[in-house]
C-alpha cells in the first residue's frame, strides 16, 4: 500500500476523529452498561456493549495506541465471558466494568498528548484493575463453566461435542469500503472449526460494465463443524453485522431440515442499502456552524434594514420582494438554529452514572427519573449547563436525600426519588431538579446567613428569600464537609454560571418533603423573535413568546394609582392586572403621549402589563450582550441593533415581572447600586 510517506500526516489528521469517536463509544458503553443492569438478560445490549469495546480496541490498534489496546482487551475478554454466560453480571462486576471504562476513557484522552507523563500511581492503579478484570473473567469462570455448559446443552446440544452449523451470509455493499474482507472472516471461522461445502453466491455480481468495483456483492453458504458456541460464530461477523444478512442455523434445527446442503440460503435479493443510519449524520466542526450562525445574524440585521428602506420608498413591488426575502431568511434562520439543537437527554443520562456511584458511596438508595429528555436546546447551552446541573444533582444526593433508615423513620419509602425534567415554556427551557428528601431547614440557613454576615443579625427576610440565600457566595450548610459537595464554593458559582447563560435559578423547598430547583434557560443564545415597542424615542424588545395580548388602555387606568416606580393596576376582563410604566421605571425623559397601549406579558405563570407608547410589531432580534455600563440594570437581558442602526434593549420578562411584583416599600431593587437608584428616581422627579 502507498502509505509510508504520509503515515504521520494521516495519523495527525485522523487522531482527533478517532478520539472523538472513541469517546462516543465510551459514552455509549456506559449508558448501555447502566441499561444492562436493569435488563441483565438483554442479549442485544450485551452485544452492543461488546461492539463498543471491540471498536475502540480495533481503531486504537490502527493508531498504535498500545496502552489502550492492551487494557481494552481485558475489558473485552470479560464481556466475552459474559456473552458466553460463563460470568453473571453482578452489581460488583458492573462497577468493575464502569471503572474499566473510565480507565479506557482516560487512556484515550491521554492519547491526545503525544508525550504522556508516566505517573507511577496511575500505572499501579491500572495494573490492579487489570488483575481484577482477569480474576473475574478467568478464575471465577472455571467453577461456573460446567453450569454454563449445561445451559448450552439445553440450548444447542452437547457443548463439548463438535456440531455442524449451517451458515449463510450475504455481505452488505459497503463491506469492502469499511475495510472488511469476507475472506478474512471466513479465515477466522476456519480457526473455530472446519468449513465445508463452501459455496460462493456470485449471481449477484454484476457484469463488468455495471460493476462498482468497491461494492461487495458476494454471499456465502457453508457448513461449519465446531465445538464453539453460537456467540463465537457470531463474533466473526461483529464488524459487518449491521449490513450483513446473516443466517446461522443451529444443529438441532437441521434435524428438522433433512438435507443439510439445502439448508436455508441467503435470499439472493439485492443487498439492502447498508447502514443507512450512519449516512444520515455528517460530522461538522462546531466553529464552522458558529461562523454560519454569526453570518446569519448579520443577514437578519441587513434584511431588516432593507425591509425598512423598502417601506420608506412605498414601492409595492419592492416591499413585496422584501417580504418574500424576510420569510426565506426566517426559514433559513430556523433551520440553521435547528442544526445546533440537541436533545437534553444526552446531558441528563450522564447523571445516571453520577447518581448510581454517589448514592452507593453515601449508602443511599436513590431512583433517578428522567422526563422530557427529548426537549431540544442549543448545544452551547447544553454544554455549559452540564456543570451546574452536576453540582445541583450532587447536592440533592448529598444534602437533600436521607439515608434509608432516616427515610423509613420519617415515614417515607426507603428508596429516595430524584427527578430531572425538562420542558419548553414560552421561549425558555425549564429544567427541574426535584427530590423527596429532607428539604431545606430555613432556620439553619438563616442562622448561617447571620453568622456569615449575609443578613444583619435579627433581620428575618421573607421565606423565599431565606431559601435563595444559599446562592450567595461563601455559603454552605453542610455540618460535615464531604468530598462530594459542601465545600462552600458551589451554589453561588452555579447561579453565576446559569445567569451567564441568561438564565435564572430558583429554589422551592418544603421542610421534610423535599426540594425543587427550577432553572430557566433561553432556547438559544443567538436570536429571538421579538416584539418591538417604543416609549418616547427609546426602543425596546419583548420576547414574542412572552407576549399574551396587546390592549388599548382606557383613560381611567392611568396615572391615578401609579406609585413612585411607575406601577399601577388595571382591570382586565374582571381581573386585576399589575401594570408597569416603563417611562417611570427607567426614568425615560420624554413627555407622556395622548394615547398609549398596554402589552400583556406572561412570565413564570404570572401576567402583568407594560405601558408603552408605540407598538412597532414583530422583529427578529439578534442578541448582543449588554456592556458593562448596563450590566447593573435589572430587567434587561441584552440589546439588539435595529435595521436603521438604532439600538433596542431586550427585556428579560422574568426579571421585569419580579420588578412588577416586588412588594412596595422595599428598598428599590431596580438597580443593584442604591445610589444609582436614588439618582434615577430623583431625575425622574
Amino acid at each position: 500500500m502507498k502509505q509510508p510517506a504520509t503515515d504521520t500526516d494521516f495519523i495527525s489528521e485522523t487522531l482527533p476523529i478517532f478520539i472523538s469517536e472513541a469517546q462516543e463509544q465510551i459514552e455509549s458503553f456506559e449508558q448501555l452498561l447502566l441499561r444492562l443492569e436493569d435488563a441483565p438478560q438483554d442479549r442485544e445490549l450485551l452485544d452492543a456493549l461488546f461492539r463498543c469495546a471491540h471498536t475502540v480496541k480495533g481503531s486504537a490498534g490502527i493508531f498504535g495506541l498500545d496502552a489502550v489496546v492492551a487494557f481494552t482487551h481485558h475489558v473485552e475478554t470479560l464481556l466475552d465471558r459474559l456473552r458466553e454466560g460463563l460470568v453473571v453480571l453482578t452489581p460488583e462486576l458492573s462497577t468493575l466494568l464502569l471503572q474499566g471504562n473510565d480507565e479506557i476513557r482516560s487512556l484515550v484522552t491521554a492519547a491526545k498528548d503525544p508525550a504522556p507523563a508516566h505517573d507511577a500511581g496511575a500505572l499501579q492503579a491500572r495494573a490492579t484493575l487489570v488483575q481484577r478484570l482477569q480474576r473475574v473473567s478467568g478464575q471465577d469462570a472455571a467453577p461456573t463453566a460446567p453450569l454454563a455448559a449445561a445451559e448450552t446443552q439445553a440450548d444447542a446440544g452437547p457443548a463439548a461435542a463438535v456440531q455442524r452449523w449451517q451458515l449463510s451470509a450475504r455481505f452488505g455493499s459497503d463491506t469492502f469500503r469499511n475495510g472488511m474482507d469476507p475472506g478474512a472472516i471466513l479465515g477466522y471461522l476456519r480457526g473455530l472449526g472446519a468449513v465445508s461445502g463452501l459455496h460462493c453466491a456470485t449471481d449477484a455480481v454484476p457484469a463488468l460494465d455495471a460493476l462498482d468495483p468497491e461494492s461487495c456483492h458476494l454471499g456465502f453458504r457453508f457448513a461449519l463443524d465446531t465445538a464453539a458456541p453460537q456467540s463465537d460464530i457470531e463474533a466473526a461477523f461483529t464488524f459487518v453485522r449491521d449490513d450483513c444478512e446473516l443466517q446461522i442455523t443451529p444443529p438441532e434445527a437441521q434435524a428438522r431440515a433433512p438435507d443439510p446442503q439445502g439448508a436455508p440460503r441467503a435470499n439472493a435479493t439485492a443487498s439492502k442499502p447498508a447502514a443507512a443510519d450512519d449516512n444520515r449524520y455528517i460530522r461538522v466542526h462546531a466553529d464552522r456552524l458558529d461562523a454560519v450562525i454569526n453570518l446569519l445574524g448579520e443577514l437578519v440585521i441587513a434584511g431588516a434594514g432593507a425591509a425598512l428602506m423598502a417601506r420608506q420608498t412605498k414601492q409595492r413591488g419592492l416591499i413585496e420582494a422584501n417580504l418574500q426575502m424576510a420569510r426565506l431568511i426566517e426559514e433559513i434562520r430556523n433551520g440553521t438554529l435547528q442544526l445546533r439543537m440537541v436533545p437534553i437527554v444526552e446531558t441528563f443520562s450522564r447523571f445516571r452514572r453520577v447518581v448510581r456511584d454517589t448514592a452507593g458511596e453515601l449508602g443511599k438508595d436513590v431512583a433517578l427519573e428522567i422526563t422530557g429528555g427529548e426537549t431540544e436546546m442549543d448545544k452551547s447551552v447544553v454544554e455549559r449547563i452540564a456543570d451546574p446541573l452536576m453540582h445541583l444533582v450532587r447536592n440533592a444526593l448529598d444534602h437533600g436525600l436521607e439515608p434509608p433508615a432516616e427515610r423509613v423513620a420519617a415515614g417515607k419509602p426507603a428508596q429516595g426519588r430524584l427527578t430531572l425534567s425538562a420542558r419548553h415554556e414560552s421561549g425558555v427551557i425549564a429544567i427541574h431538579i426535584e427530590d423527596d428528601g429532607r428539604g431545606i431547614h430555613r432556620q439553619k440557613v438563616l442562622q448561617r446567613a447571620w453568622d456569615r454576615g449575609l443578613v444583619e443579625r435579627g433581620v428575618v427576610p421573607p421565606d423565599n428569600d431565606i431559601l435563595n440565600l444559599i446562592f450567595e457566595a461563601g455559603f454552605s450548610t453542610a455540618e460535615k464537609v464531604t468530598n462530594l459537595s459542601g465545600r462552600g464554593v458551589g451554589m453561588d458559582v452555579v447561579r453565576r454560571n446559569i445567569q451567564a447563560l441568561r438564565g435564572s435559578v430558583t429554589l422551592h423547598s418544603v421542610e421534610g418533603q423535599g426540594s425543587r430547583i427550577e432553572i430557566r434557560l433561553p432556547l438559544t443564545l443567538a436570536i429571538i423573535d421579538g416584539f418591538l415597542i417604543g416609549v418616547g424615542s427609546s426602543r425596546f424588545i419583548f420576547p414574542l413568546d412572552a407576549v399574551v395580548e396587546v390592549i388599548e388602555s382606557r383613560q381611567d387606568a392611568t396615572a391615578s394609582g401609579t406609585d413612585a416606580r411607575g406601577r399601577s393596576v388595571m382591570a382586565l376582563r374582571g381581573q386585576m392586572l399589575p401594570v408597569v410604566n416603563l417611562r417611570t421605571l427607567y426614568a425615560l425623559d420624554s413627555p407622556e403621549p395622548d394615547r398609549h397601549s398596554v402589552v400583556v406579558l406572561q412570565a413564570s405563570g404570572r401576567r402583568f402589563g407594560v405601558r408603552v407608547d408605540q407598538l412597532l410589531g414583530q422583529h427578529q432580534a439578534v442578541i448582543k450582550p449588554l456592556g458593562h455600563l448596563f450590566g447593573s440594570l435589572r430587567g434587561m437581558s441584552g440589546s439588539s441593533i435595529l435595521g436603521n442602526g438604532e439600538v433596542a434593549l431586550i427585556f428579560d420578562v422574568n426579571a421585569l415581572s419580579q420588578l412588577a411584583a416586588d412588594a412596595p416599600g422595599r428598598p428599590a431593587a431596580l438597580l443593584k447600586n442604591p445610589n444609582h437608584a436614588a439618582s434615577a428616581e430623583g431625575h425622574n422627579a
Binding site: 469492502f176 474482507d181 475472506g183 456470485t202 457484469a207 463488468l208 460493476l211
Partner: protein, 105 residues
C-alpha cells in the same frame, strides 16, 4: 496470439487497486470485443502477490461479462496467492475451470 488478448494482472489485486483496474479492463474488453475474437480473453495472473475478495469479485465480474458476449475468461499461470484467495472464498473450482479452458484451447 495477439497482444491485445492477453492482459497481465498487477501484483496487487485488492480493494486498493480495483477502482483503478476497473476502467482499464472495461476499455480492454471493448477493444478485444471489436476484434471480433470468439475464442476468449487471456489474463496472465502470474504476477499476483496479493488478492482479496474485492479483487476476486472483479475477476468474477469480468468473467460473467465475457460469458455474456459468448466468450470465456482464461486464467494463465495463476499465482499461488490468487489461487489461495479463490479457494478461501469457495471459488477453487471456478478458478480451476478457467485454467482448464485454456489448456483445452
Amino acid at each position: 496470439m495477439p497482444d491485445a488478448h492477453v492482459r497481465a494482472l498487477p501484483a496487487e489485486l485488492t480493494i486498493y487497486t480495483v477502482a483503478e483496474l476497473h476502467p482499464q479492463w472495461l476499455k480492454w474488453l471493448a477493444t478485444t470485443g471489436d476484434a471480433g475474437d470468439a475464442e476468449g480473453c487471456v489474463v496472465d495472473a502470474a504476477a499476483v502477490e496479493q488478492a482479496d475478495a474485492a479483487g476476486v469479485q472483479l475477476l468474477l465480474s469480468l468473467s460473467s461479462a465475457l460469458q455474456r458476449q459468448g466468450r470465456a475468461l482464461q486464467l494463465r499461470a495463476p499465482s499461488t496467492a490468487l489461487l489461495a484467495a479463490c479457494e478461501a472464498l469457495g471459488l477453487a473450482d471456478w478458478a480451476a475451470s478457467l485454467q482448464a479452458t485454456e489448456e483445452a484451447a
